[in-house]
Subunit: 329 residues, 2 copies
């Protein structure tokens, strides 16, 4: 009987504990619900679509995409055209849309050719943001990336500083891609408007490729010995140009400004063969792309459009600050 | 004894229920934690700071700020200079910083004068984003609002459409505020570059006030009868200009393009006295300001900067689509 009473007492304690916990849990439960606005499920899949999908350049953007996905408890998939090929990217995008993902982040290889497929995603209610390279006339929800006009203008200002405001320059770019068109335009306009003793003597096609960039740089340096500076708008260009400049025996006589933070470019800045590079925050592009797609599905829904654009900013990397950019992303 | 056994049995049941619930709670607990990235606490306070703080214009932005705060379970406070007075706004901002809030969203009355105080917030580790009107040389984390150069350029294109690409125009603006400077510049540059038969004949100061805008419009219309269009860059301007145009007996002879979606402006568009207005998405400005401040504190922390800017986009509102904008925000 005594034993039973002890058990009784213990049970009574546990009962009150239970009641207490239950009521507390209830309260917490409702607070949790209001506190849990950003919870997705792992069956919710967001797809990143690129081109030249194997290059190092996309890694940091994909990391940002994945980091945001982890935060929101959703899944991601990485797809892309293996080559620099608009038809291949169109096919990949068609395949992705057919699977009805929760959202798509696309870097468009061409500012117009993909519009019908982008618009198809829109019509099917699949949120799609463009990142890095825009297709401004498509029905995509938003653009996330560098303000490329601004970045080109800033590159021109730096070039003018390096060249003391005088001399001929050349641009090596990818003339079919919108972001590269904008960088080129920003550079050209700034030189024209602000530096009367400077000139953009040539705009060349580096095809997003180190070797082509090297060849184009070699040709223009031979043809026009007045070239004192080369701005290359694309990640693989700077090292190609640096090799051409070295081969021509013009090291430290031709100023090179590159784009992006590839290891070879950073190495060139460290060694002095490249003067500067325009560092994009590609992690942010991926992070905020997923972020906007997620909020478009969960909180803004059909009622609110996404913002037109997120400018992820630019950092100018020179010998002074290059150390901080190794392994930063 | 029988009674005791019943009680015993009931207690036993409750005990198992308790254990079951406890273990379930535990499991949910950990899932919740991973699923609950965006949970703040109500003691976390975000402050919106404006000027002319009583005007209708800020309401929708504040609603966006509040909506995001509710989503993330944090608190907001609304502060501002009652008048259009840079010293008053500086004092208010100083007071807000002294209370060490979790974050500040500021619309800067002046693009330079507030920089020392903005930078103080930065040095104290208080995230601060500028919304609507930027202070681009400050150490603020980001800008959230309309791309005002683009908006001014678009207003110029619409004006050219209304005037068949010919005639003189005037701008009524707030010349000290950065967003209005940008709108003015975008309008002027576009007219100059694209419409050789058009001209911006005068840029006037409406002081953000309907009556001053009316007076300035009346003066310029009397002085220069060639004026065929007036672009007013500020919310209170369009109705003032419409009243001046009516008083001068020039209704439907002078095209008015306004800015923002105040009721009086929408009424003017409905009745035909105002041709169009550039609709900003002020709700988005508030929403994404809080959004970025919150993520800056919770997930990006010191390790990652915020994006440089969020362009909240623009919609052109004319007689055709004005109905949709009543009570939309």
């Amino acid at each position: 009987m005594k034993k039973l009473l002890v058990v009784y007492a213990v049970m009574l304690c546990l009962f009150f504990l239970y009641v207490y916990d239950y009521s507390r849990g209830d309260k917490t439960g409702s607070t949790e619900a209001s506190k849990r606005p950003a919870a997705g499920s792992l069956s919710e899949k967001y797809v990143m679509v690129t081109f030249q999908s194997g290059i190092e350049y996309w890694k940091s953007g994909l990391k940002g995409f994945e980091d945001a996905a982890q935060l929101f408890n959703v899944s991601v998939e990485y797809r892309g055209a293996a080559h620099y090929d608009v038809h291949e990217q169109t096919t990949v995008l068609e395949q992705v849309i057919a699977k009805k993902p929760a959202g798509i982040a696309l870097s468009a290889i061409d500012p117009k050719a993909l519009n019908p497929v982008i618009d198809k995603a829109h019509e099917q209610g699949i949120p799609l943001v463009l990142f890095d390279s825009d297709a401004p006339l498509s029905k995509a929800s938003a653009y996330v990336g560098t303000n490329n006009m601004k970045a080109g203008a800033e590159a021109a200002r730096r070039m003018a500083e390096f060249l003391d405001g005088k001399g001929e320059t050349a641009i090596i770019t990818q003339p079919r891609q919108y972001n590269h068109q904008e960088r080129t335009k920003g550079f050209e306009q700034t030189i024209k408007q602000k530096y009367p003793n400077m000139k953009v003597a040539a705009v060349l096609d580096g095809k997003g490729d180190e070797l082509t960039s090297k060849k184009e740089a070699a040709k223009i340096l031979e043809k026009n010995p007045s070239i004192k500076g080369i701005f290359t708008t694309e990640a693989n260009g700077a090292n190609g140009v640096a090799r051409a400049v070295k081969a021509a025996g013009l090291e430290r006589e031709v100023c090179i400004i590159g784009f992006d933070k590839d290891k070879k470019t950073l190495d060139g800045i460290k060694s002095g063969s490249i003067s500067a590079t325009m560092g994009q925050d590609t992690w942010q592009m991926g992070y905020w792309s997923l972020h906007m797609l997620f909020f478009s599905n969960h909180h803004l829904k059909q009622e609110r459009p996404l913002p037109a654009a997120i400018d992820t900013g630019i950092t100018i990397i020179t010998k002074e600050n290059v150390a901080a950019y190794y392994a930063n992303d």
